[in-house]
Amino acid sequence: MQIKINGQTKTFADGSNLEAIIKQSCQNCQRVIAEVNGAIIKSQQWGQQPIRQGDQIELVSFVGGG
């Protein structure tokens, strides 16, 4: 299936959940805020969050500085 991550179209195996997709997409999954189709999904729910063809995912990883 094809989904959009941070505006870029990428291909993942059908049936992948959000957790699997994030693990393949982020270097440091321990500090990521994830949004699916406009709704933020807490990390505790990533494994139960189904992802379907055409979904739009936004991911933000944190970096230091302030």
Partner: protein, 211 residues
């Protein structure tokens, strides 16, 4: 009284640019800020000059020489608590400020104690792990969260943008990490703090509800 005169001078100046209703709206909002360093002290300074009067700010640190390059502190204040020093500095601009300060280490376990009645919550920490924990903790509140994410950089820089995920606004380039050798310098840290403050002003003056 000097205090009254000072606040009237700030209001007098602001009312040359704003309508009474706009200033009233600004003065009705409360802002919570986690961190009184480069982002927090600059963002608070900008918001106070803009007319905001209600704040809750927390930070456990004392002022260090390494803070002077970008934070709203002076050399003779090294060793003093940031939150107490910042409160005094901001009261010089507006003596009537309603400002609650906490010199504490924020943790997810204690997070519920803070920012309960704030309209906006600003994430202004410097370490990535704490930034994440802070945003992750307050995001479910539904309040508008503004987080500074990627404003370091000297030789390598990237343009700063605003990204919105749900009720969280991320300001910065999202990549230049101070932990990876990108130094936090005044121009970009201040720029990021100003962009964060502008989001709060936009929501306030355009009549949008952050709650």
């Amino acid at each position: 009284m000097a205090a009254k005169k000072s606040v009237s001078k700030l209001q007098e100046g602001l009312l040359r640019y704003l309508s009474k209703d706009q200033l009233k709206s600004i003065q009705s909002k409360k802002i919570g800020i986690g961190g009184a360093g480069g982002l927090g002290s600059n963002c608070a300074m900008i918001l106070v000059r803009t007319g905001f009067e209600h704040f809750e700010i927390l930070d456990q640190d004392v002022i260090d020489a390494s803070n002077l390059n970008r934070q709203q502190y002076f050399p003779e204040e090294i060793g003093l608590a940031k939150v107490h020093t910042l409160k005094k500095r901001l009261q010089q601009i507006n003596p009537e400020l309603d400002m609650t300060i906490h010199q504490v280490q924020w943790t997810p376990q204690t997070g519920e104690r803070y920012f309960k009645d704030c309209n906006f919550i600003v994430e202004a920490f410097d370490q990535a792990d704490w930034k994440f924990k802070f945003v992750d903790h307050y995001q479910p509140s539904g309040k508008l969260i503004i987080s500074g994410n990627g404003m370091a950089g000297l030789l390598e820089k990237k343009p700063m943008t605003i990204r919105k995920l749900g009720n969280v606004y991320f300001v910065g380039d999202g990549s230049t990490d101070s932990a990876s050798g990108h130094p936090p310098m005044a121009p970009r840290v201040t720029q990021c703090a100003a962009m964060m403050a502008e989001i709060i002003l936009d929501f306030t003056c355009k009549g949008l509800s952050p709650l």
